[in-house]
Amino acid sequence: MFTEELKAFRRLGFRHVLLQALNFASVIASGLMIWKGLGLITNSESPIVVVLSGSMEPAFYRGDLLFLTNPVHERYHTGDITVYKIPGADIPIVHRVLETHDAKYRGPLPAQNQRLLTKGDNNDVNDIELYRGLDYLERKHIVGKVRGFLPYIGYVTIAMNDFPQLKYALLGGLGLLALIQRE
């Protein structure tokens, strides 16, 4: 079965392989550019996130895709849904703002001087236990504010995390296709 393919591969020659590798690299590079460009526009380190837990049900379920922004000059309000990341914790958390506290502050960015307390809609208590010793969240811990919502689409990444075989099969298949495709 593979002898045929291998023969085709040999016939196509070294230059073709190089060209395919270049194509592959340009696809990856443009993907990365779009991601980083979005990050620049929205001022968020990850402008699109996948919901990983059920703590915001019934608003968000596992696998829903969220679009974030994080404007520098804008305060956060109660009721906003934020994504935050505590230093030392590796998973960002999607929860709603329960309290905001703005201390008196004369500086260039008053909106940055804000303390927040969050809570998951599906949790009974607030998030202080999740803050690893902090009493409140600060703006530097916040990744962004949820603006838009697309259901289910992100489940692919969760499936790939839960079943690593799927990830390798998909990557291997795509790589093979990219190499042996002749156009």
């Binding site: 019934p58 608003a59 309000h77 109660t78 009721g79 906003d80 849904i81 709603r96 703002v97 329960l98 309290e99 905001t100 506290h101 703005d102 201390a103 008196k104 303390r115 809570k119 809609d121 607030n126 409140y136 949820v146 603006r147 838009g148 919502f149 697309l150 259901p151």
Partner: protein, 180 residues
């Protein structure tokens, strides 16, 4: 060109762009609908009583407010075909004597059906209402505005925020009760 692979590729590309187009249309439709729908009639928020007490244990230095309130609001106009749920919350906003601006959610409710969107609540707060500053009597000479807000969550699209009602003016905090 007419291999099985090419056909599968074409069909799945067409299918996914159709689904994306449909979702975009639904998301847009709810924006357009919200422009034409009847404006929300002002809901009523009435604060019936406020008490300020010491916290318990470690929180002794912090002032805690206990609020009894009544809410009357009709939020049915917010439900259209792209409404997944309403998140309703009662927000207390005040500036304490240390100049800290605070907004604290003291009550919330998730409304998932249009039939449940006519809200009558007479209750005490759900979450603790604690002043952050942590020195005595920073809250006593302040007064708070209580506002009923909503967050409309769509099945797909943009999250919408709004206000459904508020107290008439602000409600002053009484002096702290020292013997609890």
């Amino acid at each position: 060109m007419h291999s099985l692979y090419a056909r599968v590729n074409n069909i799945s590309a067409l299918l996914s762009s159709c689904v994306m187009g449909l979702l975009a249309a639904i998301a847009l439709s709810s924006v357009v609908l919200s422009m034409f729908e009847a404006p929300l009639e002002g809901g009523a928020v009435l604060v019936k009583g406020v008490k300020v007490v010491h916290g318990k244990g470690r929180a002794y230095q912090h002032e805690h407010a206990i609020v009894n309130f009544e809410i009357d609001a009709d939020l049915t106009p917010l439900f259209n075909w792209n409404t997944k749920q309403l998140f309703l919350y009662l927000d207390a906003e005040y500036t304490n004597s240390k100049g800290v601006k605070n907004a604290v959610v003291i009550w919330d409710r998730i409304v998932r059906r249009k039939e449940d969107a006519n809200i009558h609540v007479d209750s005490r707060q759900k979450y603790s209402f604690r002043d952050v500053t942590g020195f005595r009597s920073v809250i006593s000479d302040a007064s708070a505005t209580y506002t009923l807000r909503y967050n409309l969550m769509p099945h797909v699209g943009v999250l919408v925020y709004g206000t459904a009602g508020s107290t008439n003016g602000s409600v002053a905090f009484p002096p702290m009760i020292n013997h609890v």
